[in-house]
C-alpha cells in the first residue's frame, strides 16, 4: 500500500483523528461553564480524551505526511 507516489492510509486516519480531537477539546472547554448531564462530568473527559486524540492525530500526520521519505 505504500507506493512512493501514494498517500498513506495512516495519514488520512491521523488527519481525521486530529480534526476530531480539536472538535472534542473545543466541546470539552465549552462544557466547563455548563457541564453536560453525564456521570463523572467533573472529570472533564472531553478535554483530556480530545487532547489525546490531537496528540495521536498529529503524530500520525507528521510521520505519514505525503512526500516524507520512510
Amino acid at each position: 500500500m505504500n507506493r512512493d507516489e501514494s498517500i498513506s492510509i495512516w495519514f488520512f486516519i491521523g488527519l481525521l483523528i486530529l480534526i476530531y480531537g480539536v472538535l472534542i477539546v473545543g466541546a470539552g472547554i465549552a462544557g466547563l461553564s455548563s457541564p453536560p448531564p453525564v456521570v463523572m462530568a467533573n472529570l472533564h473527559v472531553g478535554i483530556w480524551w480530545g487532547g489525546l486524540l490531537v496528540v495521536v492525530g498529529a503524530v500520525y500526520v507528521y510521520f505519514f505526511r505525503p512526500g516524507r521519505t520512510r
Partner: protein, 568 residues
Amino acid sequence: MFCLFLLQSRERLIHLSWVDTAIIAIYFLAVLAIGFYLKERTHTGEDFFLAGREMTAWIAGLGFLSANLGALELMGWAAASYQYGILATHWYWIGAIPAMLFLAIVMMPFYYISKTHSVPGYLKLRFGEPSRALSAISFAFMTVLMSGINMYSMALVMKVVLGWDIHFSIWISSLTVAIYVALGGLRSAIFNEVLQFMLIWLGVLLIPVLGLKEAGGWSGLQQKIAERMGSTDYTHLWSTLGSFKDNPMGIHWTGIVLGLGWVISFGYWTTDFLVVQRVLTAKDLRSAKMAPVIGAGFKMLVPLIVIVPGLLGLALLPEKLVGEGAAVASHAHSYNEVLPLMLARYLGPGLLGLGITALIAGFMSGMAGNVTAFSTVWTYDIYRSLIRRDATDGHYVRMGRWCTILGVLVSIGTAYLVMQFLSIMDYVQALFSFFIAPLFGTVLLGMLWKRATPAGGFWGLLLGTLSSIGMWAWVKVDPGALSIIALSPNAKDMAENMYRGLWSWLVCVIVTVVVSLASRPLPEKQLVGLVYGCTEVPSEGDVPLFERPLFWAAIVSVVFVVLNILFW
C-alpha cells in the same frame, strides 16, 4: 427479535449537539474522499478485487478483523453480556482465536500459493466446477441478503437511538458504501475498514475506562454484579459450564468447545470469504500469515469494548433492562440498548458524536465487507465461470463496479422486504448458517487429505448442507427435537446452532471420506499448490524470530490460555 423490538420502541435514546452532528458528517466526507482518491489507483481486476495484492500485514489484519466488527456485533454482544454475563466472551476467544491462528499457520499457505481470488475459487481448483458453483451461488446470494438485513437493522438502530428517519438512514449509508466501494474496489473497502477500526476503538474505549473507575475496578464490578444478581456466575467463563442448567445460556462446555470453538468458529474464520478475502490481499505469504495473527491479537481485546460495557450496564445502570417482549409491553429499556445507554451515561458533546460515529462505522464496514465479497464471487466465480469466460480484464472490472451497485440495490430491496415481513430475517440468517460448517469440512479435507476427490468434495458439501437444513426444519416443526440434537432436555436456543453445526460438519466429513474412497483419486501432480503433502511451502529463510508468524501465533496462544485461566 432484535429488530422487532426496535421497531416498536417509542422515543430516541440520545440527543446530539451540533458538534456531534459535525463529527458524523465529517466521517461521511472522509470515507467518500478515500474512495475518490483510490479510484485513480484502481485499474486492473487484481486492483479492484484483490486490492493489488499489496497490503501490509497490518492493513490486511485490521481489515480482516474489522469486516467482522459490525455495529450489530458490537450492540448484540454487549446485550448478550448483559443477559448472559461474561459467557458471551467465548464468541471472541475460543470462538475466534484458535481458528484465526489455524488459518494463519495451516491454511493460509494453500490459499495464497494457489493464487486463488476467492474460497469458491479454491474449491474449483481442488474439487472442480460443481463444488465451486454450489458454494459461489449460495455464498453470493446469502451475502447480499445479509447485507440488506444489516442495513435494515442499522436504520432501525439509528431511528431508535437518534430518531433518524429509517429511509434516510438506509439510503445515505448504503449509497455512501456503494460509492466508495465502486470507486476504489476492495482497496477502498479495506482502507475504510482500518479507519473504521480506529474509530470504533476511540469512540467506545472510554466506556470501560470510565465504567471501571465508577465501579471500583474489576473486583468492584464483580462484587456489584454478585450483589445485584445474587450469584457470581455472571463473571466466570468456564466454571459454570459443567451442566446445561448451571448457567444462564443453557449450554454445556462440549457445545462451546466442539460446536463453537471447533466447527462454527473454524467454519467462519477460515472459509467465509467475507473475512478471508481481506487476507488474500496481503503483499506476500509472510504478510498473509501474519495478518490473521495480528487480527487474533486485537480480537482478544475486543471484549474490553463489547463485553465489559454490557457487564458495567448490569452492575451500574439504575434500571433493570429486560427482554424484547417485556420491553415492548412495559416500555422499559431492552438488553439491546445497553451500549447506547452506556454511551449516553458517560459521553458528553463531541465524545458522544465519536461514539455514534463508531457505531455507524461498524455498520458500514460490515456492509462493505458483504458487498466486496459479493462482487468478487459474482464476477469471478459465477459470471466469468458460467456466463462469459473470455472477456477482457477491463470488462470484468466494469462488471465488478456495476455489480457493487447492483449488490447495494438488492440489499436495499432486501431491507424494504424485511421491513414488510420481519420473519424473513430469521430465515435468511438461518440460511446463511447452513453453509458454514459443511464448507469448513470440505475445505479442510481438501487442504489436508490428498485422497479427497471431486465427487467426495461435492457430495460432502451438498449433504452436509442439506443435513443442516433438515435439523433446522426439524426443530422448527417440533421444538422438542432440540433436546435430541443438543443431547440434553435442558438445552436452550443458543445450544442449537452449536450442535447443528457439529453434526452437519460430521455428515460432510463422513460423506466426503466415504465417496472419496469409492471414487478415483486425482493424480498428485494436479494437487501441487493445493494440498498438504503435495505442496512445498516456501521457507521463511533467515527471518529473525520476532518477525515470524509462528512466533507471534505462539505469543497470542499463550495470552489466550492465560486469559481463559484468569477469568475461569
